[in-house]
Amino acid sequence: MSVSSVAVSRKKSSRKSVPRLRLGLSHELCRLMYQKMLYSRILEERLIKIYRAGDGYFWIGGPGEEGFGVPLGLLVRKGQGVSYDYLHLHYRCTPTLVAMGMPMIDSIRLMMNRSTDPCTGGRNFSNHYCFPQWNVLPVTSPIEVQYVMALGTAHVQKRAQSPGITIVTGGDAGTAEGDFASCLVWSSRKGQELPILITVQNNRWGISTAYEGQHGEDCIADRARAFNIKASVIDGNDPIESYRVIKEMMEYVRQKGKPAFIEAFVSRLYGHSSASGANYVTNEECPVRRFEELLLRVGVIKEQECNQWRKEYEEEGFQAQQKVRQEPVPSGESIWNHIYADQQHPDWRRF
């Protein structure tokens, strides 16, 4: 297995003795990925500030997963309905949503449980997104359940011979749940394979429990290989490698109608959640900084514009928080809304 970047190759320069770096992706795309990664990070840091300010009850999110989540979001066939990709994501998916075009303010509305929150109307935690217009299905707290629900959307897509595929993501510790195994079993049945891209973002932690001691397999991807699922292990902190492999795997799933699997090593930069303090950890790699350094070195971005973007995004987050503070909150009576999708009143007192 290779966890080193394959994207940065060296090319001999005729003019200088210093080798010029070749990125393997267009400069334009690299700039876009960097901007999205930075935007996502600054958004997550804003969410943590909101938590610390007492404007939100709980934070959980994806700082440290930008190198994987952003390319994933950029590569999605985005839209609503069976012809587009379905996303069954978990609670570290801000980078993916940012790449798809989510503005900060919507994430902040969710964090601050406002009735304007477009995902849950103030009912659920941060990073528990839901955007039907992009087939982003409700993120739920129970670990791993998305891996079995993904089977259903993939099944419908398979029958419709849809150009869309199903994408499901989760963490490493959660793969111990039976639902992960169910996903491998159901999606790989011979002749009935399902068009699913299955990913595991391996940050080597499950809250406080280390990866070591929890696994007998050499890598999680080996479990997929046992089901004849095409699998790859990548450095998820490298957006270029991530982009290339996700693209390749998505094309495979789309063309063959079969599952593919990616295990991406990522960082967990603010601990598990606000319950563990949400403090920055210094002993894990920061994918945003790493990519920034690379792009600066290659000259794809400039220090000055980085500072400008940072300032802009920070300002956007700050302003959004101020605005959302003024927005309405859900009322107590609204607990009875949206229980049944028809005219049936859900409250037995009203039967």
Binding site: G81, V82, Y86, D117, C119, T120, G121, R123, N124, C130, P132, L137, P138, T140, P142, V145, Y147, V148, M149, A150, L151, G152, T153, A154, H155, V156, Q157, R159, T166, G178, D179, S182, V185, W186, R189, N337, H338, I339, Y340, A341, D342, Q344, H345, P346, W348, F351
Partner: protein
């Protein structure tokens, strides 16, 4: 007359022809068996799933998320328990997404005792299911109701638990399903798969008609004036027999007991119960799920609270004993679920009670 398994089959066939039902699935649901109770035999869109209950419910939710209908079967309710949090999710998806994702699926699983099924083929699920907000929960007590309730369940935009009693699957009805041939031999020849090689077999379906029973509506099985007996599922037939026996042995009058088949656990038909109890002033609830936090306790509580000053006797609940399972020997099973004698005694005691 069709039995309940045949009625379910006919409903599924009607739905695959008319309601865009494309997926009926579960363990052994597809060919060649067509379900361990044969309830899915001959259904074109029925397919066999892996032996994985969580996978089955997850698949169903996913199909619902894509806006499609399906009927997913858990072979016996006894094996649905490890899917509990997925059932909760299906029930809360519309709510948690603030009305953005409804899950229009049906989960069908046979419930209850009565087939000498021992510890793991006798479980009930109605009271458990009553704690799953967002679901509608129905139990048919006869083939025609199974047909009408299943069609309504499939059309419903919410998740619906359809709980046919195991012991009633082979029991014939008293009324024809719309379109069913009068001669039951003819029906059998048309839609029952032959014993042995079935590879060439295809069902010949009768010209079925739509028949919808609204979810949440009960039915007065038998009118009466002095005691209301509310039950559902397998116990509708048992209670009917109990009442007939009491009348036949002149222990009660033919108009003493009003028998209600609740049909839906949630939403439930409160106006029907209320009107009946206001008339009889006495009520007995009977069902076979275990007695502690039994759904009938909720109904009994509500009757007590809302009709207290109208009552001439304390509301009664007869339910399954709070024991870990139903033992195989008939003595064990009979001691675990409500028995005819017990029901008779309570009916008579209620009639005799003077406030």
């Amino acid at each position: 007359m069709a039995n309940m398994a045949q009625a379910i089959r006919m409903a599924l066939h009607y739905a695959e022809e008319n309601y865009q039902l494309h997926d009926v699935f579960g363990q052994d649901v597809g060919a060649p068996l067509g379900g361990v109770f044969t309830a899915t035999q001959g259904i074109q869109c029925a397919w066999n799933s892996p032996l994985d209950e969580r996978g089955i419910i997850g698949m169903a939710i996913g199909i619902g998320m894509a806006g499609k209908r399906c009927v997913a079967e858990i072979q016996f309710a006894d094996y649905i328990f490890n899917t509990m949090d997925l059932l909760k999710l299906a029930g809360n998806m519309y709510w948690a997404s603030h009305g953005q994702y409804s899950i229009p699926i049906v989960v069908m699983t046979p419930v209850g005792a009565g087939i000498r099924g021992s510890i793991y083929h006798s479980h009930s699920f109605d009271s458990w299911a009553s704690r799953l907000p967002g679901w509608k929960i129905v139990l048919p007590s006869n083939p025609l109701d199974a047909y009408g309730l299943l069609l309504s369940s499939i059309l419903d935009p919410n998740p619906v638990l359809f709980l046919p009693p195991k012991a009633l699957m082979r029991v014939k009805g008293k009324e024809l399903i719309p379109g069913e041939p009068e001669d039951e031999k003819e029906l059998k020849a048309m839609i029952d798969a032959p014993i042995g090689d079935r590879t060439q077999w295809k069902p010949r379906w009768p010209r079925l008609k739509e028949y919808l029973i609204p979810l949440g509506k009960g039915r007065i099985v038998k009118e009466g004036n002095r005691v209301t007996l509310v039950t559902w599922g397998r116990y509708v037939g048992i209670c009917e027999q109990v009442i007939d026996d009491l009348i036949a042995s002149a222990m009660i009058d033919s108009t003493d007991v009003e028998l209600i088949d609740l049909r839906s656990i949630y939403p439930y038909d409160w106006p029907l119960i209320k009107e009946s109890v206001k008339k009889t002033r006495k009520v007995l609830f009977v069902n076979e799920d275990t007695e502690v936090t039994n759904f009938a306790e909720h109904l009994s509580y509500r009757v007590t609270k809302e009709l207290f000053y109208e009552l001439w006797a304390p509301p009664q609940v007869i339910a399954g004993r709070h024991v870990p399972g139903i033992g195989l020997h008939p003595n064990l099973e009979d001691a675990s679920v409500p028995g005819a004698d017990e029901i008779k005694k309570v009916i008579i005691a209620l009639i005799q009670e003077v406030p």
